[in-house]
């Protein structure tokens, strides 16, 4: 009987913790579907309830920071900034694992150490470089930047994953006269699909959620990505929590969807990403 009570207590604590953790998100959800006049007494106050999607419409076509346009820009940046580093990083991972060339290990160690440096370390010269090559304030500039910043962890992650694949199949194919590129494309790449799913899920989330790089590299209002518009939605003197909540829901929907659909790969990627 004592064990039963213990189990009940654990369940109650666990569910209470889960509830505490979800309450702020519930607040955002409720605030997004209720008018401003009802929110001043707290989103949990249910004395008068009128549900509407007004806040979503207002956020979507907001005068200073339309979220609809922001979501479109975020997509334009995120899709290539996920696929490009995926391709280049996988190639590099294969190269670092299977090809022999001078300086290979030092270069790889250098790439691993790059994982820890903050984006602030490159901000000013990067701004200057992109200005010089006329890519500042362009989607292409931001996409290339995200690609370069995604490459260190993708290369490391993919190399670690490929190192668990048997090398014998590749050697046999090589004896049969297959070239490196054929081996990579026909043998290695299909085997790395689960790892590619992990990389895609995480890189997509990171690029979509990024704020700092977009903040310094895209300043034209009509080109700003979704996350950049969140601070702009704050009014000067008071915050319209309804509109801000609706915008937050719209922007967060994408990474939440990725997480829900690719949960297994997402978690594996997160665990693998942290193991060097």
């Amino acid at each position: 009987m004592r064990i039963r009570w213990g189990r009940l207590a654990i369940h109650l604590i666990a569910w209470a913790v889960g509830l505490i953790w979800i309450v702020p998100f519930m607040g955002i959800l409720v605030a997004s579907i209720r008018p401003h006049s009802e929110l001043v007494h707290g989103w949990w106050n249910l004395s008068e309830v009128n549900l509407s999607f007004d806040n979503y419409l207002k956020a979507w076509s907001h005068a200073t920071a339309p979220i609809g346009e922001g979501l479109k820009n975020s997509l334009i940046v995120t899709i290539p900034a996920t696929l490009l580093p995926l391709l280049i990083g996988t190639l590099a991972a294969y190269g670092f694992l299977r090809l022999r060339f001078p300086g290979r290990n030092i270069l790889f160690l250098g790439i691993v150490l790059l994982l820890s440096i903050p984006q602030q370390m490159v901000a000013v010269p990067l701004f200057q470089t992109l200005l010089d090559i006329k890519l500042l304030n362009t989607f292409a500039g931001l996409i290339l930047t995200h690609t370069a910043w995604g490459l260190p962890w993708i290369t490391m992650f993919m190399r670690n994953y490929m190192s668990t694949l048997p090398v014998e199949v590749e050697e046999a194919a090589s004896l049969d006269g297959a070239s490196r590129f054929q081996i990579f494309y026909k043998i290695t790449l299909p085997l790395t699909l689960p790892a590619l799913a992990s990389v895609a899920a995480l890189q997509l989330t990171w690029v979509w959620n990024d704020f700092f790089m977009a903040l310094i590299l895209l300043y034209e209002p009509s080109m700003q990505v979704a996350t950049q518009r969140i601070p702009l939605l704050r009014g000067q003197y008071h915050i319209d929590w309804g509109i801000l909540s609706a915008a937050s829901m719209l922007i967060t929907a994408v990474p939440v969807l990725v997480f829900v659909l690719l949960q297994k790969y997402y978690i594996r990627g997160l665990i693998g990403w942290t193991q060097k």
Binding site: P24, G27, F181
Partner: protein, 298 residues
């Protein structure tokens, strides 16, 4: 000879696109920032003069106020306090939750709820923190009001003595999912036989936790500690939306200070000092992590 050429061709195709992009958009700008930190506005070498000016300034370390008076204390103490409060709580909460949720009905739902903070863009996380600490719309103030703590009922992010604390508490809420998920995965790798053997030897639940679970999770703990410190040092988005480092610099952190110096004060040299200092801190953690991860793996 032909074999040699083919080999080099392979290296170029596979490795060089990544190296060119990383070199051009990560390494080179980082080196230029390092150079900017030891130059003055005219581009002359001034040694460590910028460092002594910036790192000893009130914005970085306010010795009149730190540690005896209320914030602003300067960005370095703010980041340090962040690490000191956030790190132990996140590590402990993550580990305890992972163990607790091991055999709870509906655990995957609770885990997803806790992990939601990790999936959310931190810009929005900052907005949510401001929302829950708001005087009228904030759920935390509603609870304080309910239990009669009226002196605590106010917009926490709008006052210098509570802004930093509110952000740190909010960041614990956002980041705990990370450590919980890693610890959950770690728990699954501990062989069940060890627990069974301990059971036979008469160990109770607490003894099993302290003598089996914690030591077995050591590699995970190293990972969680390293990643969490890196996150705390680099914290930016969350502060940007919640307080912009205010009020009066009372929640200013290094990454945001660098941004303001570079893109508001338009002072590349001083901002480079903060960037270099921050990078030095993160590299210490990075090197420590790589070395201890290797040691653990044997």
């Amino acid at each position: 000879m032909r074999v040699q050429i083919r080999r080099w061709f392979e290296v170029i195709v596979f490795v060089s696109p990544a190296l060119v992009l990383i070199g051009f958009l990560v390494v080179m700008p980082a080196v230029r920032t390092l150079a900017l930190s030891v130059l003055n506005e005219e581009g002359q070498f001034v040694g460590l003069q910028n460092f002594s000016e910036v790192l000893l300034s009130r914005d970085t370390l306010n010795r009149d106020r730190f540690p005896l008076r209320s914030p602003p204390w300067g960005s370095v103490p703010h980041n340090a306090v962040w690490v000191l409060l956030h790190l132990p709580l996140v590590v402990m909460l993550g580990m305890i939750l992972a163990v607790l949720l091991k055999d709870v009905t509906g655990a995957s739902f609770i885990k997803s709820a806790i992990f939601l903070g990790m999936v959310t863009p931190m810009v929005i996380g900052g907005g949510v923190i401001r929302f829950i600490f708001d005087e009228n719309t904030g759920v935390i103030n509603a609870i304080f009001r309910l239990v009669g703590l009226t002196e605590l009922t106010r917009s926490w992010t709008a006052y210098p003595d509570t802004a930093l604390l509110a952000l740190i508490l909010g960041s614990i809420w956002l980041w705990t999912g990370f450590s919980m998920v890693l610890y959950s995965a770690g728990l699954a790798t501990i062989p069940q036989e060890i627990y069974e053997a301990a059971q036979v030897d008469g160990a109770n639940a607490l003894q099993k936790f302290f003598y089996i679970t914690i030591p077995s999770l050591r590699p995970v703990t190293i990972t969680v500690v390293a990643m969490t410190i890196l996150w705390e040092l680099k914290i930016f988005d969350l502060v940007y939306t919640a307080t912009l480092g205010g009020p009066g610099g009372s929640s200013m952190v290094l990454a945001l200070q660098m941004y303001f110096l570079a893109f508001r004060s338009l002072d590349p040299n001083r901002s480079a000092v903060i960037a270099t200092f921050l990078t030095a801190l993160t590299l210490i953690i990075g090197v420590w992590f790589v070395r201890s991860a290797r040691r653990v793996e044997g």
